[in-house]
């Protein structure tokens, strides 16, 4: 299971792919089950050069009532910095934020597809 993420070009905001649009909240991201569809979506995103920067696929897994990125790094991106709970998307709160906060494990290396190859 995968999601597609990027940073928005104009302001750097972390965004996620959702059925052809870019959304700010991970809770609204599209969970892509099919690997070949994931690759197609990634290729589509790469062409959107005036909207986003550096799109890439991340591994996600089912957790209670939804999904969460496997990688801790990606959860930090989806939530905001842990030293400032009032900054980033975590400041808005909501069920998807609580869900991400409950997920645990996996620092950086796992969960970002093609991390090494891309560098």
């Amino acid at each position: 299971m995968k999601a597609l993420t990027a940073n928005r070009l104009s302001d750097g905001e972390v965004v996620f792919w959702a059925q052809g649009a870019w959304v700010e909240r991970f809770g609204e991201a599209e969970a892509i089950e099919d690997d070949s569809r994931a690759e197609t979506v990634e290729a589509l995103a790469r062409a959107q050069v005036t909207q986003i920067v550096d799109p890439y696929l991340i591994d996600i897994q089912p957790v209670a009532d939804g999904f969460a990125p496997i990688s801790y790094r990606e959860r930090v991106r989806a939530l905001g910095p842990t030293n400032k709970p009032d900054h980033g998307k975590q400041a808005i709160g909501g069920g998807d934020v609580e869900l991400l906060n409950r997920a645990h494990g996996s620092a950086r290396s796992s969960g970002r597809v093609n991390l090494i190859k891309r560098k």
Binding site: S10, E13, V49, T50, G80, N83, A107
Partner: protein, 552 residues
């Protein structure tokens, strides 16, 4: 301090106009990210985890009040009301929007600030002794020479595409407060036997994946030949430095692989055939720069201050602040005041816009309009009358800026780590916060004495962990945050790289482990020994035993 002249101002205006056009082209899709990325990086604009990050250069760590106020304005208007001072004495803003970046650079340019030489494989913004012009043990103001190097190196066509980034630190004092042994080039100005000013030149220090302390390649270079000698070093590096492997591209790898002796021979050979007069700074220009740093505005005062002494006697907290944060000034009746950005539990190096404004006001009123940034991620008011110190302290205390912990265990260096940085493997800030909270009791911290903890969230070592008395390196171990501890490092006169204590520890074991290390030190120390001295006498064994006892 140095004021930008017409040439500098014109350069900044042109630069911002150029970047404004480049940003517009990128936003319109006329250039790709691949084409734009090196351009934005050369203007200090990185893309981090949550947003763009702007790294603003603070050349040799010196700011005027007007400059600090402008940093506050930028933090308030375009970011989230705070900034992060780094171990390179720069300021990083973590929540910048690309569309605002040109205007920010425009605002900064009005006070001679910019983000030039904060990225890319060029000679980066210089650092210097933060007590320049203050310390009694200096032979000259090192910023004169740092400014000369800035003017020579900015946009230097031959050195804009080096194999890798290149960092220079300058000191002119006996005591090394600029960590010169961990820089690509460390410069130590002293007075040679002949009486003339001369540089000891160290080349090839650095931390990161392969840490080295820089060896001395020339003991005594006549100061007037500084630029031609730097050119010779950089030419040898440009010629032979590796470009095939980013991890082996720094000059430290070249110096280590050739050997200091052979590297020096090649530099000297290059220097011998250099037409030095073409490169070295003319005396007239040096005098012009020097005039900018001439002490001015100091009053003739008695060396001692009754107001200062009576405040110490009357107020226990001020006495503690004076002990830990106030240092002697070479001018009678003056002192330098260290402002700790290390409130236990807060993010090391962070400073709010309101705090920046206050520091600017205090500098304006009490410190001859000057502020310094120290690589330990703290600020300094360098020229305060002893008579005014109690008033300045009270103002700082009212803004959460009077933590009396300079050089103590809670004065922790930490990089932004995985909370912000795309390179990080693990978080650094929460580890620092947790340790500082454990040692927040100021009596306990003073009893422990000088102890430098330095934390990096990855092997790139922005948090200088290799040279911490206790170094902490975040690693990604099978997908979990783990922390590798090293002991006995130092970036000061007794420079040394730390030794690995043992297997990496999970996050929740780090503070208890630091506590155990401190307990061993308090048990083993003799007399006035500092932590690092006790460690050097006893070696790793007792410390290792305490931390890993459970594992046996």
């Amino acid at each position: 301090m140095y004021s930008y002249d017409d040439i500098d101002r014109e350069m900044l205006i042109d630069r911002v106009a150029e970047f404004r056009a480049q940003c517009a082209r990128r936003l319109a899709g006329e250039i790709t990210e691949e084409q734009f990325k090196p351009i934005r990086l050369m203007n200090g604009l990185y893309l981090q985890l949550h947003a763009y990050m702007l790294r603003i250069a603070i050349p040799y760590g010196t700011l005027s009040s007007a400059q600090m106020r402008t940093l506050a304005h930028v933090a308030r208007t375009y970011d989230r009301g705070y900034g992060h001072f780094t171990t390179r004495t720069n300021l990083q803003l973590h929540w910048i929007k690309l569309r605002d970046a040109p205007q920010i650079l425009d605002d900064l340019a009005t006070v001679g600030l910019h983000a030039i030489q904060t990225s890319g494989n060029c000679i980066r913004n210089l650092t210097a002794d933060p007590l320049a012009g203050v310390a009694a043990d200096e032979v000259d103001d090192p910023r004169i020479w740092a400014e000369a190097i800035r003017q020579w190196s900015t946009f230097h066509p031959e050195f804009s595409y080096l194999p890798r980034k290149f960092k220079i630190a300058v000191t002119a004092a006996r005591r090394d407060r600029a960590a010169t042994r961990i820089y690509d080039i460390g410069l130590r100005l002293h007075r040679a036997e002949s009486g003339e000013l001369a540089f000891e030149v160290l080349v090839g220090g650095g931390l990161g994946r392969i840490p080295y302390l820089g060896p001395t390649v020339r003991q005594s270079l006549p100061a007037r030949h500084l630029l031609s000698y730097l050119q010779a070093i950089l030419r040898v590096y440009n010629r032979h430095g590796r470009r095939d492997n980013i991890h082996k591209a720094r000059i430290k790898v070249l110096v280590a692989s050739l050997g200091a002796e052979e590297f020096t021979r090649q530099v000297e050979e290059e220097w011998d055939r250099t037409d030095k007069a073409l490169v070295d700074l003319p005396d007239l220009e040096l005098a012009r720069i020097r005039a900018n740093f001439a002490p001015s505005g100091f009053a003739t005062l008695a060396p001692a201050s009754a107001a200062f002494e009576s405040a110490k006697a009357a107020d226990h907290a001020f006495a503690r602040f004076a002990r830990n944060n106030i240092v002697a000034h070479k001018t009678p009746g003056y002192c330098a005041i260290n402002i700790s950005l290390k409130v236990p539990g807060e993010t090391p190096g962070d400073c709010s816009a309101e705090q920046m404004d206050l520091v600017a006001d205090l500098a304006d009123r009490y410190s001859l309009d000057e502020i310094r940034v120290a690589y330990e991620q703290n600020l300094i008011l360098p020229h305060v009358r002893l008579d005014d110190a109690p008033t300045v302290y009270a103002a700082l205390a009212g803004a959460g800026l009077a933590t009396a912990n300079i050089g103590l265990i809670s004065d922790i260096i930490a990089c932004p780590g995985l909370d912000y940085c795309t390179l990080a493997n693990a978080r650094a800030i929460p580890v620092a916060q947790d340790i500082a909270r454990r040692f927040a009791d100021p009596d306990l911290a003073e009893r422990i004495g000088e102890l430098n903890i330095k934390i990096s969230g990855c092997i790139n070592a922005c948090g200088h962990h290799h040279v911490g008395h206790i170094g902490i390196l975040g690693v990604d171990k099978k997908g979990e945050e783990f922390y590798q501890l090293t002991l006995g490092g130092s970036g000061d006169d007794d420079a040394a790289l730390g030794q690995i204590l043992g297997p990496a520890l999970p996050a929740d074991r780090v503070t208890p482990a630091v506590d155990q290390l401190v307990q061993v030190y308090l048990r083993e120390r003799r007399g006035e020994e500092r932590f690092v001295e006790t460690f050097r006498r006893t070696g790793l064994a007792p410390f290792k035993e305490a931390v890993y006892a459970d594992a046996h």
